[in-house]
């Protein structure tokens, strides 16, 4: 760990090592991986973890290199947040054509944890699973480590040489295919390129974008605009299959979820709640929050939107286009209900539809929003400074067919991976084979790289300079946290090379852009923006003034005929954890259970119980086995075989498939996991279409983390409607749930707000409590705002160095997550209610785990935490058995060792670890520690600063709490009456699980509320 600066000789030296390393060569050069099913058998589960580190010893140097340009630490601290010893740097994470403001915890010059940026509206200090997992993404040893020419390793200067000569001829017919980006710098370079290469064409390709929504506004208002829904402003939200709270469903999900939970946040009977109607085909987590949920096939949903417009055209102006329209959904009771609600709450409602639907649908939604007077209040529309005024989808399709026809001699593909993701009927790979020179910039040597002759390894966003606009238009700069581990280059650096033939520095490129943006003293302004992570002079995109354009009717009417058949329909959505497949090589995301199905490491065909029966498949899973039946899905254009999964509440005659799986040549984690469903996707039917489904006589092993779906009528989750709550605020107490008090409890005691006096049932012992001079830590989780996204799990995994164990171990129920989210179905299997319940360690006052440990390896700390002493644990597992909540996790194998110390350069993955948390070894128990490292850091800081033992409320945030977009988790000192957590625990909705067994959990829950339409109930 000696030299602090990048040393070129070192770099070259390590490249030679790279060249020498057999194992890496073998991997890099082989066309297909030797065994795609590495993860499925237990022995080579280990080999998979070995290869996670396998390749050249380069990171050894990387780990101690600082970026060469000056970047600024996040020193000024906002209220209610004391940052700890490590430095925090503001940056932002690009995702399609948005950026999200983040802070990166940077210990000893290496990024180790992602948090949200409190000052940035896109996150407000919160994060999504993609943000949290970005750390592991950057430290992924499988990322491409060098440019390649026809599979041969070359250096970037070789490419620069080539570019200099190749692009010297400016009259070339060049096709640029890029991923969506909001970067001003990239936009600047793009315009330069278009002027330098007049015959060039630039198209954008994103397999799952909101382009149709934009086209919808174009159709309705004649402008291509970004729709921003302000969920905190609305009384009524109607979501037509728009999973706006999931990062895979919406680019701005963190802010959306935050706003939505604000609108639903109830602390007292007088508080109000917005109402969510959700009409969708599969069960999304947004749907699980709905007060009224209707399940329909995608085609029916489309029809219902038109029908709703037709219905409303009777009462509202501006919907003339729909006046005489009707379809099979007209007169559906939901249409009537919605009409009533929407009219009653005019200009306080939001209608939104899933990005998959056609422009016509989105045009109708826009028209409805404007007719209802929502636009400008709950819905705002904005011009995008960086967006071409074209329909990206069709532009891309046309460009590809031209390429097919040989119209281009050069194709430059930036970031995106069309060979894998482009619609099947475009036959993209085939098309670009007619292009002479193919250049691909990507983080992995992926499907497209293999189809191109030049591959340039892309730098991770934490490694390179960049910039971009937030979804709502605030400008941010992306400042690197570490010099590129594998010497990758950013998209703007590549474009610069194409323009000039020289390798440029992203730093200068970005600065050059911002010189024209920032007013006043540039250096000072620049540093301010870097420091804050946002340019607060830019308060978002300007509102576009819109009105329904003339001729809208004539345009829309022909688009309104619907295609509802009684055949089974497949709907293709991006995977909640892997998105379009770009995160497929991320172990954390692969192992994060799907929010609804709780499936890890696989995608499945989701279908309703009755659809399953109609296909001759069992509607109930065999509790005793991991095997599920498979189905064959044939669209005519393509066919796949995939495991069938019964999803209660799924629409009948409809099957939902998640894209992003079935990758084969990008890395050890992703390879061979799941099934690639892109072959079923065509330009004609990118979202849904009919298909032939037939049961296949084969079983498939699925690693699901929750084998039992029903709550069995137990009281783990307690819920009521808003009205019931107002009638009986104490609806969630044990007494109201069971009709009688907890046997032997002194109710008076329990009612008292002094947590020390809070008794349980009478006990034979005089209990010891934590002393009052110490803070007494406790947690409260609000089930009313929690929507089960699972970011707490990933945040915890990142904070506490929790290993990835692989599919086989998960299917053996040995997943290591310290906080899990239980998902329960309630009611009839066709349209059940869903409850999400995050379950960390309860830190019971009278912890049953402690007394049974023969060696006292788990005991209570003075500040009331149930602590695990790893080096004392001998691993009897008795504590886990005796834990009523089953939150303890056992190292059955040496998971951490396999995860972190195998392979040639384990340093890479090791760098992702949190230096403040012990790595657990084989044979010991582990569990949620209430982030004791953060707690103690805060206690020490406070003691140093004020001499007090008790940190201010809010100074300690657990990883899960800090990440939660819905503010569902509160944590703090229970001896402080005014702390948020104390307030929550005094709230009448507060309850603890299993009160009658008198373990007295420190973690309690706030009961869930729903706000159904009184007329419907």
């Amino acid at each position: 760990m000696s030299d602090q600066k990048t040393n070129d000789t070192t770099y070259w030296k390590s490249l030679n090592e790279l060249a020498k390393n057999k194992e890496y060569q073998k991997y890099a050069e082989r066309e297909f991986p030797e065994d795609a099913s590495e993860l499925t058998d237990q022995v080579s589960r280990r080999s998979f973890l070995r290869v996670m580190g396998a390749s050249i010893a380069l990171a050894g140097f990387a780990s101690c290199r600082k970026p060469m340009q000056k970047i600024l630490p996040y020193s000024r601290q906002p209220e209610e947040q004391v940052l700890g010893v490590p430095n925090f740097y503001a940056t932002s994470m690009p995702f399609q054509d948005t950026v999200a403001g983040l802070l990166i915890e940077n210990s000893e010059g290496r990024p180790s944890k992602v948090e949200g940026n409190e000052q940035h509206p896109s996150t407000r200090g919160k994060t999504s699973i993609y943000h949290q997992a970005a750390i592991l993404g950057m430290y992924d040893p499988d990322r491409s480590r060098n440019p390649q020419l026809a599979g041969e390793q070359v250096s970037y200067s070789d490419f620069a040489e080539f570019a200099a000569s190749h692009f010297a001829e400016t009259d070339r017919n060049i096709l640029f295919i890029s991923d969506a980006s909001s970067s001003p710098t990239r936009h600047r370079l793009k315009t330069d390129i278009q002027s330098r290469f007049p015959n060039s064409q630039w198209v954008t390709h994103e397999p799952f974008s909101d382009d149709n929504r934009v086209e919808g506004t174009n159709l309705a208002f004649g402008q291509r605009l970004r729709t921003v829904n302000h969920f905190d402003e609305a009384n009524i939200v109607v979501s037509f299959d728009d999973d706006f709270m999931t990062p895979s469903g919406h680019k701005n999900s963190v802010e959306a979820a935050w706003q939505f939970s604000m609108a639903r946040n109830v602390n007292a009977v007088e508080d109000t709640m917005s109402r969510l109607y959700s009409i969708e085909n599969s069960y999304s987590i947004t749907g699980s929050m709905a007060d009224h949920r209707l399940r329909l096939k995608s085609s029916e949903i489309e029809a219902m939107i038109f029908a709703l417009a037709a219905r409303l055209s009777q009462d509202l102006n501006g919907l003339d286009a729909y006046t005489d329209y009707s379809n099979s959904m007209s007169g559906h009771e939901m249409v009537e209900t919605l009409a009533g609600e929407l009219i009653a709450n005019r200009s306080n409602t939001i209608l939104t539809a899933g990005t998959g639907y056609s422009p016509a649908v989105h045009a109708t939604i826009s028209a409805l929003n404007s007719a209802l007077g929502n636009i400008g209040t709950t819905v705002t529309l904005h011009n995008l400074p960086f967006r071409d005024n074209v329909d990206n989808t069709t532009a891309f399709a046309e460009a590809v067919s031209q390429a097919q026809a040989g119209a281009f001699d050069t194709v430059v593909i930036l970031g995106t991976n069309p060979v894998f993701t482009a619609a099947a009927d475009l036959q993209f790979a085939d098309a670009i084979s007619n292009v002479e020179t193919k250049i691909h910039l990507s983080e992995y040597v992926d499907e497209t790289s293999r189809a191109c002759d030049w591959h340039v390894n892309q730098a991770h966003f934490m490694e390179a300079w960049g910039d971009g606009y937030a979804y709502t238009g605030q400008r941010s700069i992306i400042q690197p946290q570490i010099a590129p581990l594998f010497e990758g280059v950013s998209d703007i650096e590549l474009l610069h090379t194409i323009l000039t033939g020289e390798s440029g520095s992203g730093y200068d490129l970005v600065q050059n852009t911002w010189r024209n943006v920032l007013s006043g003293n540039f250096e000072r302004e620049w540093e301010r923006v870097l420091h804050d992570g946002i340019d607060d002079n830019s308060d978002g995109f300007s509102n576009a003034s819109v009105s329904i354009q003339s001729g809208f009717a004539s345009q829309i009417i022909p688009m309104l005929e619907t295609s509802i058949t009684d055949r089974i329909e497949i709907t293709i959505k991006p995977d909640p954890t892997l998105f379009d497949g770009r995160y497929a090589n991320n172990g954390w995301l692969q192992e994060l259970p799907d929010p609804m199905t709780k499936i890890t490491w696989d995608n499945v065909a989701l279908m309703s119980p009755s659809t399953a029966r109609s296909l001759g498949l069992p509607a109930e899973r065999d509790f005793a086995s991991d095997e599920v039946p498979m189905v064959r899905i044939d669209t005519g254009d393509g066919a796949i075989e995939i495991a069938a999964w019964v999803q209660p509440g799924h629409a009948d005659d409809s099957i939902t498939l998640y894209a992003g799986y079935g990758r084969n040549t990008i890395g050890r984690v992703a390879d061979g996991v799941g099934v690639n469903i892109y072959p079923l996707r065509t330009t004609g039917a990118p979202y849904y279409r009919t298909a032939d489904i037939s049961a296949v006589d084969r079983m498939y092993e699925i690693a699901c983390t929750q084998d039992h779906n029903s709550i069995e009528g137990r009281d783990m989750v307690r819920a009521a409607t808003l009205d019931e709550y107002r009638e009986n605020p104490n609806f969630s107490t044990y007494e109201s749930v069971h009709g009688y008090e907890v046997p032997g409890i002194d109710a008076a005691e329990r009612e008292s707000d002094d947590y020390l006096a809070k008794g349980g049932p009478i006990s034979l012992f005089d209990e010891q409590y934590g002393p009052d001079y110490q803070p007494q830590w406790g947690m409260a989780i609000d089930l009313n705002t929690c929507f089960g996204c699972g970011v707490c799990t990933i945040a915890c995994q990142a904070e506490n160095n929790i290993p990835v164990v692989g599919k086989r171990e998960v299917s053996r129920r040995r997943i290591m997550h310290w906080i899990r989210t239980d998902r329960y179905y309630e009611g009839d299997e066709d349209n059940p209610g869903v409850y999400h319940q995050p379950v960390p360690c309860m830190h019971c006052e009278l912890a049953p785990c402690e007394q049974v440990c023969p060696v006292a390896a788990t005991v209570h700390s003075e500040d009331g935490m149930n602590q695990m002493t790893y080096n004392r644990c001998i691993g009897t597992r008795y504590c886990a058995n005796n834990c009523p909540f089953k939150v303890r996790r056992f190292n059955f194998f040496n998971y951490s060792d396999e995860y972190l110390t195998t392979g040639d350069d384990p340093e890479i993955i090791q760098m992702a670890m949190n230096p403040e948390v012990t790595i657990r070894f084989r044979g010991v128990m582990e569990k949620c520690s209430y982030c004791v490292q953060r707690v103690n850091r805060a206690k020490i800081e406070t003691r140093k600063a004020t001499g007090s033992r008790k940190p201010e409320d809010g100074t300690v945030k657990t990883a899960c709490q800090q990440a939660c977009p819905a503010n569902a988790i509160s944590f703090g000192d229970l001896t402080d009456r005014n702390s948020v957590v104390s307030q929550h625990k005094m709230n009448e909705r507060n309850y603890v699980m299993l009160e009658e067994i008198n373990v007295r959990p420190r973690t309690s829950y706030l009961a869930k509320l729903r706000n159904p339409n009184p007329e419907l109930s």
Binding site: F623, A624, S625, Q706, D707, H708, N709, S710, I711, E712, R714, M716, E809, R812, R813, R814, I815, R820, D822, R823, Y824, Q837, V839, P848, Q851, V852, C853, P854, V855, A856, N871, R872, C873, I874, G875, T876, R877, Y878, A880, N881, N882, P884, F885, K886, R889, F890, N891, F892, F893, N894, R922, G923, V924, M925, M993, L994, E996, I997, V999
Partner: protein, 476 residues
């Protein structure tokens, strides 16, 4: 007056007309005559199994607890099941030698040596599992209160720790008890064996015992006291083993009925195991005169009683679960009988509750083959009882979200099978080198041993008529 009952004289303990020395040679010749071929074969086989055990333990230590089928809800599987099963079996010996001794049940002399040996080897098999089932076997010694680098002590609140003390105490005391009984017989062998080495070895083992009645005087006292100590001990051991479950809060474990219920189960399985082994040995070694059908019948009666007690306990659990109205208790018992593990539950019921009921019939009680079959069935049933208790309660407890199914791996099976290797290796050595019946004791229990059975004048042996109690002289 009508006869109210018939007086049934105790059947003679030793069949055939034996005198002291014929009994003596009948038993000790087994140790003195050259080793039979069959023994070598049996010994070879059990050694093979023993290596299976050692192999699977080695792999376990090398690879980790993960090689077993354990998972997140089910943290205890076959290891604990086997532990409880073997310990249970290990209860018969001490029970027979201690409790039956206190009750002056002289028939015990035919089988107590044998049963005690079985006890000790069974407890050895049992002892292995708590030691190897932990995640870090190399620090298992932390469960003993010995100073260590952490200057920490074990946690005396933990039932597992109680287990450590209970089982080790039980093993030690059983061993002493067994040895004390063996001393006079070692002396017998010392005096009979020809080979020099044998004389040395047995001589040392006999500690110079010479049958002095001054010694016998203390000896009997000691034996009596040991019996008095072993009786509460044997009851306490399985009680404490049952605490492993009863003291925790898992539905189906947290039950006050466990201690008596476990002890009954232990006696049940222990007697069954003694029968299994005894029926084989009496045949092979021609000891039918000593281990008579009457013995088998008496033991079958005990099996019948304890079996019924166990059955009653099963019913009681259900009743209490319903009576307490604790929803989780109610749920677990319904799940046991109808849920994913119903198959195990009904195997348990039919083996433990139904099969012993056949012993209501005297004919079946005295039928050796039938007894042999039942004795094996019972031990299968008792294994499943422990399976049902351990696994079902864990796999479906409070939070339905964490319910999970347990299925064993090949390593679970091999480790279990291997323990039979250990057991039979030691048992065969015992049969070969130690008198499998307590010679001195059985002599003492023969009619010739009673001074009153001699003619006062000539001093010749003349057994007296049986004393028939007053009220019904005429009935005989």
């Amino acid at each position: 007056m009508s006869k109210t009952y018939e007086y049934v004289p105790e059947p003679a303990l030793v069949k055939g007309n034996h005198d002291f020395s014929s009994i003596n040679s009948l038993i000790t010749d087994i140790n003195l005559r050259p080793t039979p071929k069959g023994w070598y074969i049996a010994f070879g086989l059990s050694n093979l199994l023993l290596f299976v055990l050692l192999g699977s333990i080695a792999y376990l230590i090398w690879e980790g607890t993960g090689i077993w089928g354990l998972n997140q809800p089910v943290g205890w599987g076959w290891a604990i099941i086997n532990f409880v099963w073997w310990v249970g079996i290990g209860h018969a010996g001490t029970l027979i030698s201690a409790i039956l001794f206190l009750f002056r049940q002289d028939w015990r002399t035919a089988i107590n040596r044998f049963a005690e040996a079985m006890t000790i080897f069974a407890v050895m098999c049992a002892g292995i599992f708590p030691a190897i089932h932990v995640g870090r076997i190399w620090v298992i010694y932390w469960v003993f209160p010995i100073p260590n680098s952490m200057v920490m002590w074990p946690n005396f609140n933990s039932p597992l720790l109680w287990d450590v003390f209970a089982v080790s105490t039980y093993f030690t005391v059983s061993l002493l008890f067994w040895y004390v009984g063996l001393v006079p017989d070692f002396a017998t062998l010392r005096d009979r064996i020809k080979s020099k080495v044998g004389k040395m070895v047995y001589g040392v083992a006999a500690l110079g015992w010479r049958g002095s009645n001054r010694h016998w005087w203390n000896y009997e006292k000691a034996y009596m006291i040991l019996a008095g100590l072993a009786t509460p001990l044997v009851l306490s051991v399985h009680t404490i083993v049952s605490f492993d479950f009863a003291v925790s809060i898992i539905p189906g474990w947290h039950t006050t009925i466990f201690p008596p219920y476990f002890v009954a189960g232990a006696v049940f399985s222990g007697f069954a195991m003694v029968l299994t082994l005894m029926i084989i040995c009496r045949k092979i070694y021609g000891l039918e005169d000593i281990m008579t059908v009457d013995h088998i019948e008496k033991m079958n009666l005990i099996i019948l009683v304890t079996g019924s007690m166990v059955g009653f306990a099963y019913l009681m659990e259900f009743f209490i679960a319903w009576y307490s109205q604790v929803e989780y208790e109610k749920a677990i018992f319904i799940i046991r009988a109808t849920g994913p593990y119903a198959w195990a539950y009904w195997i348990m019921i039919s083996c433990n509750v139904i099969s012993p009921q056949f012993f209501w019939s005297k004919k079946l009680r005295r039928n050796v083959t039938f007894t042999f079959i039942i004795s094996i069935v019972v031990n299968i049933g008792m294994w499943f009882e422990r399976f049902v208790i351990t696994v079902t309660s864990l796999s479906t407890d409070y939070l339905p979200s964490s319910w999970g199914y347990f299925s064993p791996t090949i390593w679970d099976v091999l480790t279990y099978v291997g323990t039979f290797g250990l057991f039979f290796t030691f048992f065969l050595l015992f049969l070969r080198f130690m008198p499998m019946v307590a010679v001195a004791e059985i002599k003492g229990a023969m009619p010739q041993a009673d001074p009153h059975n001699y003619d006062p004048e000539t001093g010749d042996y003349s057994p007296q008529e049986i004393e028939i109690p007053e009220p019904n002289k005429e009935s005989v």
